[in-house]
Amino acid sequence: MSRQANRGTESKKMSSELFTLTYGALVTQLCKDYENDEDVNKQLDKILFFCFLPRGYNIGVRLIEDFLARSNVGKCHDFRETADVIAKVAFKMYLGITPSITNWSPAGDEFSLILENNPLVDFVELPDNHSSLIYSNLLCGVLRGALEMVQMAVEAKFIQDTLKGDGVTEIRMRFIRRIEDNLPAGEE
């Protein structure tokens, strides 16, 4: 993806702008292919595509392996630790930013990731006729897919977006449950 920390043997760098532009092309193509923004949001977050290009959820379920293989992060013992790893390691590794974690719910099952600047929207201005488009919804899908592979069902959604005039971008994460079926051996 965009910026990657030392890739070990073959350290390839890809311009983050190229990724941002590619992502822009993807979103506009989806906007052309689908009538309303709701469908595009769904597409960005979820599965199904006009071709086999994985994205959102599909990127997440694959990216988690890359993340675990390279980051040497061990098991997380609670949701707070997970939040820390997502913000400080994962976002740093793949997008080059470190969002802050705030607004913990009293039960400790919900938190917000505040992105000061979102590299996906560096050059984006949302036109009026796409006011309900959640441009970066891909990130929610990635988070959902990746955490599902480590036995955590979560809900992720944008509640603030700089594209819509908010001061910051905020992703709200809610822990739903631990996925107990298909548990790898040794993970009680």
């Binding site: 070990g8 694959r62 392996e65 890359d66 675990l68 293989a69 480590v150 298909n182 790898p184 051996a185």
Partner: protein
């Protein structure tokens, strides 16, 4: 070669990749004239030597190749039955290679899912919670090293008991898997890995690990 095989087992216990990287020893090739002075029998879809141990050919060895062409179970490369082919005087003299029967892909599949179950039993038997499961099995001829990721995929490497550096090799294989299998959009999750790049890079990693892994004392 000090690293013998690599297996990748998915979450459900299905074998999704297997690579053998050794030339089996104890193979014997010999040219025969009619009639064949060995007794062959059909057993378990293979042609085995039943009687007539000689020149490195042992009872229980299977017919591996005829005239340099690998046989496929009880059939020759061009689809004829091996026993029928060897029964015809017109085909002699014939050169046959014998050796220990290799595991068929079906057997590998079965053994992999069996290992998956053993691994689960291993972590259940643990007195402490959250045991890692089987990390290593040791025999006199090889060591089996297993690494299970947090997502439940198992990477298994069979190597010479004296080979070192397997832990880092397993990590490396995990990286190769995430790079060349998962990032390939045409690879579907949990399915057998048939990616050229994955193959190439895995073989490269095995070579590097073999060269780097210094043998301990006694070698």
């Amino acid at each position: 070669m000090a690293i013998f095989s690599v297996y990748v087992v998915n979450k459900a216990g299905g074998l999704i990749y297997q690579l053998d990287s050794y030339a089996p020893r104890a193979e014997a090739e010999k040219t025969f004239s009619y009639p064949l002075d060995l007794l062959l029998k059909l057993h378990d879809e293979r042609v085995l030597v039943a009687f007539g141990q000689r020149d490195g050919i042992r009872v229980g060895h299977a017919v591996l190749a005829i005239n340099g062409m690998d046989v496929n179970g009880k059939y020759t490369a061009d689809g004829k039955e091996v026993l029928e082919y060897l029964g015809d005087p017109a085909h002699y003299p014939v050169s046959i290679r014998f050796g220990r029967p290799r595991l068929t892909s079906n057997e590998k599949l079965m053994l992999a899912s069996m290992f998956h179950s053993l691994f689960a039993i291993g972590s259940q038997l643990s007195p402490e919670q959250g045991s890692s499961g089987i990390e290593m099995l040791e025999t006199d001829t090889f060591k089996l090293h297993c690494f299970q990721t947090l997502t439940g995929i198992k990477f298994v490497v069979l190597a010479d008991p004296r080979q070192s550096g397997i832990d880092s090799l397993l990590r490396k294989i995990y990286e190769i898997y995430s790079d060349f299998a998962l990032k390939n959009p045409f690879y579907s999750l949990e399915m057998p890995i048939r990616c050229e790049l994955f193959d190439q890079n895995l073989k490269l990693a095995l070579e590097v690990a073999e060269k780097a892994g210094t043998f301990g004392p006694g070698s």
